[in-house]
Amino acid sequence: MTVLVFVEHAAGEPDELSLQALAFALDFAGGNGVDAVLIGGADAASDLPVGTAHVAELDGGYAPQAWARAIAQLEPSVLVAAGSERGNEVLAHAAVMTGGALAANCVAAAPGDPAEVTRMRWGGSLLEEARIHGPVKLMTVAPHAVAPATAAGDPAVAPFTPELRDEDLVARVVERVDTSTGGLSLAEAPVVVSGGRGVGSPEGFAPLEELAGMLGGVVGCSRAVTMAGWRSHTDQVGQTGTKISPELYIPCGISGATQHMAGCKGAKKLLAINSDPEAPIMATADYAVIGDVAEIVPAITAELRRVSG
């Protein structure tokens, strides 16, 4: 059994999520060999910890079906990729081409026939234990489920030219439009620092802005703040505002009414800063600091500055 890993890459480096998939594949393969397949990018393949790094010579931009065709031509029995947008898409095409079964967003797997996998449902709120039957088994690996492969290897780099069919290039990227506005959006920000009534005034948001800036995040607010006219409705986190899903959410002086909590239930971690230890938000928060927001937030930014030198 050879396990083949589809490695995505950019700027001559393999993607972080693909290295996670590679680690997953190495673990799954046990002592057996692991090969990689890349679409272009021989540079990115040069020190992957695999036996052979197949590099498909393909012109043009992203064409999911053509990429899948190239990979399928290697006739893998186990194919692994990152649970990225492209990883999931290319493997779905490859599953059809190889006649295999695909389990998306796996967090663990054990080889065998059938192979046993644990995969994410409901965006990770639920796990599914499943079996993959049949001669060809495909898996994508849930982002951040395993640590990336760090060991360097010396693979045999094997370029090949895939035989494509006409229909493989019908759906391909023909143009790329830059849409960046410069700023981070509330919905996408990895860190959100929100202020509620406890902040006291529109001016009271300045320390929050500073903290958010230092953490690469943005500022949000509660409904009461919008109603007070302190900030625009576009900043509002909550049921009638924006629903967020940052890595870390820091509600400051927000008591945690249901209205608000409905907007931040997607947050991975929640650090509440509040003067009231009995505030409802404490029941949902992972971490808490008790006290006055106006004192605590500047102290945190000062400490951050001190630590980062």
Binding site: R197, M227, A228, H233, Q239, T240, A257, T258
Partner: protein, 618 residues
């Protein structure tokens, strides 16, 4: 002879012009929809209303000076009626006219009273200039007042001089008035008494249901609130024809008071203007496709400011039911146009799909009972004496949960046999209904009535005045009739019976009346009994049936507030009493006023009376 001929012609012309207009108004009223608005019951009660509100001028006299001013003119209008035929006889034959000294003396007194009334009215309008007249037709009012003054003055002059000239003048002024009347806001002389008769006699908080399941009504003719003029009910038309633009509703309106677009007066005026502009076209057209009533003036913007507190309906001297207009306009905007403040859409979707307005999992409905001994009713269980209807707010909102916990503790302590429905309790549908989605509301009404029926429930105690209102007064329309009490009513009776024995502290407590308790449902004494049992009550100026909304009603818990903050205005009033505790009896008041206390930086504790009682007993 010539005089008789001239009088006959004058009367004929006046009556013709009057009748022509009245005929139009009658045809409009006949066009008016009457979905379920049966107001032909309870005749004795309606007659009593007529005596108290019309003849007795009770609502007007709540403001003494303007009330007396109007009463003088109104009573003069009645007393002076016989003077019209007398003057007419005098025109034809001066000698034939009766000269009852007692009547002339009485009439003269009322003429003077009417003149005092007119003078007072001018004083109020020109000197005092209260805000309630903002937006009213002031010139028209001046003309009518002058006209009334002229009518009584000519009568006085006739009585003084016995001259036919003054009789002529009096009669011509009256005939002119008759013609002008149905074209003006003074139409209320004819319509107000009728409108009062057909006013609500039962629960004021109840909304008239729409019918979606009537097999006799094809969908094209189904009414989804007020779209075009053809969708107005006859009562809404009658309301529009009865409005005198006095502005008492505007004065009482918390939305207007905090600088929002809404004025209940302008809503009724907008409906009236639209009715008179589009109504005749609708009557003439084979198939009418006119503009929406909501497009009249700023109606569409205004209807979303309403908190359905009912202060306007309460204040109206001619029993106009402003909430029905606003809700029917909302209904059409929501159910047909899908046009409403977008921030309320999650609430509507969450109520529809998840049975509560915050989209919380139903399975967690009874989570607040953790650590308490509360029976959750399972199918087949024995029926408790009281079903405790917790409501979505007290089930899911952390601040409101305390009320449910306190109530449950107290009921347990007093040995009351009660249980809750847990996950089988669904939203009553009230937020969706007040937002205008009658369809979603009715689905929940049917579901909850079925659930309560299966459980064999007959008595309900509700924590939320909105649930209370819906269960008690709106579910009967869907086949569910229960004995419903608010938790303050039940707790007050338990205290009276000695089953709960609180001790009064020195704490000064001011109690805020919830609109849906105090105004819509007349529950005012019991929460005060509880406040008095646990502390030292102090009253706010706007209280009991004249309470001032917290700002959450009419689905405003889920809408952004435009203009000033209603809750802060109320908190200011509460703080001025010097009380340290602001007692409430509604989960929405709890949240809104607590927010108001925090945003205005006051030092007040906002707490449900049930919690105060529980603390006093612990």
């Amino acid at each position: 002879m010539i005089a008789a001929l001239a009088l006959t012609v004058a009367v004929a012309v006046a009556v013709f012009l009057f009748a022509r207009r009245v005929w139009l108004l009658a045809r409009l009223l006949r066009m008016g929809h009457a979905p379920g608005i049966a107001r032909d019951d309870r005749v004795p009660e309606r007659l009593r209303q007529e005596v108290v509100v019309v003849l007795g001028q009770r609502k007007l006299l709540e403001r003494l000076v303007p009330g007396l001013m109007h009463a003088f003119i109104f009573w003069a209008f009645i007393v002076l009626f016989p003077a019209i035929p007398i003057a007419m006889i005098a025109i034809v034959d001066a000698d034939a006219a009766p000269h009852w000294g007692w009547y002339e003396a009485l009439a003269n007194v009322f003429c003077v009273l009417a003149l005092i009334g007119v003078a007072t009215a001018f004083y109020i309008r020109k000197v005092v200039r209260p805000r309630r007249f903002e937006g009213s037709h002031l010139g028209e009012a001046d003309l009518i007042l002058a006209w009334i003054a002229s009518i009584v003055t000519t009568l006085l002059l006739y009585h003084g001089t016995e001259s036919q000239v003054w009789a002529w003048a009096h009669v011509l002024l009256i005939l002119g008035f008759l013609v002008y009347l149905p074209y003006s806001k003074h139409l209320h002389i004819a319509t107000a008494a009728v409108n009062v008769y057909f006013g609500r006699t039962r629960a004021r908080g109840r909304l008239e249901p729409l019918r979606f399941d009537d097999p006799d009504v094809p969908e094209e003719e189904m009414r989804f609130g007020i779209g075009t003029v053809e969708d107005l009910t006859w009562k809404q038309m009658m309301d529009a024809m009865s409005c005198t633009e006095c502005g008492r509703c505007q004065d009482a309106c918390p939305a207007y008071a905090t600088g929002k677009t809404l004025s209940p007066k302008l809503v009724i005026m907008g409906v009236r203007d639209h009715l008179f502009a589009e109504g005749p076209k609708a009557l003439a057209a084979e198939t009418y496709e006119g503009p929406a009533v909501a497009e009249s003036g700023q109606l569409e913007e205004m209807v979303w400011d309403c908190v359905t507190c009912g202060a306007c309906v309460q204040a109206c001297p001619v029993n106009i039911e402003q909430i029905d207009h606003i809700l029917d306009l909302r209904r059409h905007l929501v159910m047909v146009e899908s046009r409403f403040p977008s921030e309320a859409e999650p609430m509507l979707r969450d109520v529809e799909r998840q049975a509560n307005p915050w989209g919380k999992p139903q399975a967690e409905r009874a989570a607040w009972t953790e650590g308490l001994d509360v029976r959750v009713l399972e199918p087949g269980d024995p029926v408790p004496e009281y079903l405790y209807w917790v409501g979505c707010a007290a089930s899911f909102d952390e601040r409101a949960r305390e009320t449910a916990r306190s109530t449950a503790k107290l009921l347990t302590a007093a040995g009351v046999d009660f249980a809750i429905l847990g996950a089988l309790e669904a939203c009553t549908g009230d937020p969706a209904r007040r937002m205008g989605n009658e369809f979603v509301f009715q689905a929940y009404a049917e579901q909850n009535v079925a659930t309560l029926g299966e459980a064999g429930v007959t008595k309900i105690v509700a924590s939320c005045p909105h649930c209370f209102n819906t269960l008690a007064h709106e579910y009967p329309d869907f086949g569910g009739s229960y004995e419903v009490v608010h938790h303050t009513e039940l707790l007050a009776s338990l205290v009276r019976e000695g089953r709960l024995s609180p001790t009064a502290s020195e704490e000064q407590i001011t109690y805020h009346d919830s609109c849906y308790l105090a105004r819509h449902n007349d529950v005012r004494a019991q929460p005060r009994e509880l406040a008095a049992a646990v502390g030292q009550p102090v009253e706010m100026e706007r209280r009991e049936e004249r309470t001032f909304c917290c700002g959450a009603g009419g689905a405003h818990m889920w809408m952004e507030e435009r203009g000033g903050a209603i809750n802060e205005e109320r908190v200011r009033e509460a703080a001025e009493t010097g009380a340290s505790t602001l007692a409430v009896a509604c989960p929405f008041c709890t949240v809104m006023l607590d927010d108001g206390v925090k945003s205005s930086g006051r030092d007040l504790r906002v707490v449900d009376v049930a919690t105060l009682l529980a603390e006093s007993i612990d």
